[in-house]
């Protein structure tokens, strides 16, 4: 291969020479910029996607199903919550936690509900086809806080833990509602303790 020298050639003096130099510079600058862009792209996109998938993300809550914990003003304002995905990496949830999960009836939609009962618990249902339900292994019973206005386990039954998406921990927006979401079980929604009550049905 012949070596190419970009030394100052006599015939490239004057205006033409300046243009030539400028072109070389522009080319080098463009390539460097392009390279930096590509490498930054390959860092930023996977890191962001992984962070949103594994650590945490934010979401706006729509609908009245979790009133009064979320969206207390109804249509006037909707809360933005922080969804902690790292906490449920081993599918560990507790009774009373507010979680988001993929709707079992529509895989494109996510719903936010409160966990009422875990696997093995016996729960008294509110309008499900059986009066008492024993939660099968790997399933949970979820309900909205706003009974009667919520599409929850009382209509679709226990949900598989595999549909779990995240654990809602904080309300981020609006600023005057900034707070940690408390984990509690609504009154008289504790699991049934006596087995005979379940066997009576």
């Amino acid at each position: 291969m012949m070596p190419i020298h970009f030394t100052y050639h006599p015939c490239r003096s004057g205006l033409r020479g300046i243009f030539f130099k400028f072109k070389v510079m522009a080319h080098g600058f463009g390539r460097r910029y392009f390279k930096a862009f590509v490498s930054g792209f390959f860092v930023a996109v996977p890191v962001t996607v992984t962070f949103l998938d594994r650590v945490a993300c934010v979401a706006r809550v729509e609908g009245a199903s979790m009133q009064p914990s979320l969206n207390p003003e109804g249509r006037l304002g909707s809360d933005i919550v922080l969804l902690n995905r790292w906490r449920i990496r081993n599918y560990e949830v507790h009774r009373g936690d507010i979680v988001s999960l993929v709707s079992p009836k529509n895989p494109e939609q996510k719903i936010i509900k409160r966990v009422i009962a875990l696997e093995g618990d016996i729960i008294k249902t509110m309008g499900y086809r059986n009066k008492f339900v024993r939660i099968p292994g790997g399933h949970v019973w979820v309900e909205g806080d706003h009974h009667g206005h919520s599409f929850d386990s009382n209509s679709f039954g226990p949900v598989s833990l595999g549909l779990l998406h995240a654990h809602a921990t904080y309300i981020l927006w609006p600023p005057n509602r900034w707070q940690k979401l408390k984990s509690f079980i609504p009154p008289d929604r504790n699991p049934v303790e006596k087995e005979d009550e379940y066997l009576q049905q």
């Binding site: 390959f42 996977p46 890191v47 594994r54 599918y91 895989p107 949900v159 598989s160 595999g162 549909l163």
Partner: protein, 166 residues
Amino acid sequence: MIQGVLGKTLGFLGYTVQYGCIAHCAFEYLGEIVVCSGPSMEPTIKNYDVVISENLSRHFYSIQKGDIIIAKSPNDPRTNICKRVIGLEGDKVCVSDPSHLLKKHSYVPKGHVWLEGDNLKNSTDSRSYGPVPYALIKGRIFLKVWPLNAFGFLQASPNGRILRKD
């Protein structure tokens, strides 16, 4: 000296995070290599066959009847199952065993799929735990790579459990 070591450690950590994230994205959204174990998909997939799954059709909702898929087990989200899709939402499926004289049929509810193994005699599937939510599907198996003499695309359902619409 210390600065150099610190810089190198930080650089190494950065690369680890970066490649870990790239790996996560690839396995989550593109596809992965899976070693299947268990007899439920014989004769299509035998014990310890190596297959490649792609996760794009799951994200684009283009899973079809007859596809072999990997899904999270509905009873234990930490384990995966490998089954064939027998019916999509709204499809009519045969709920009873093929040996039963009385055939029971049912419709798959909205947002769910009906999964069965190809080895009907030795498979825990939708016949025992019912329809499975679509969101539990992780990917579609499309290529078998090991053993080498069985390399290639997977064959269609061998036992005619998929009901065609008349």
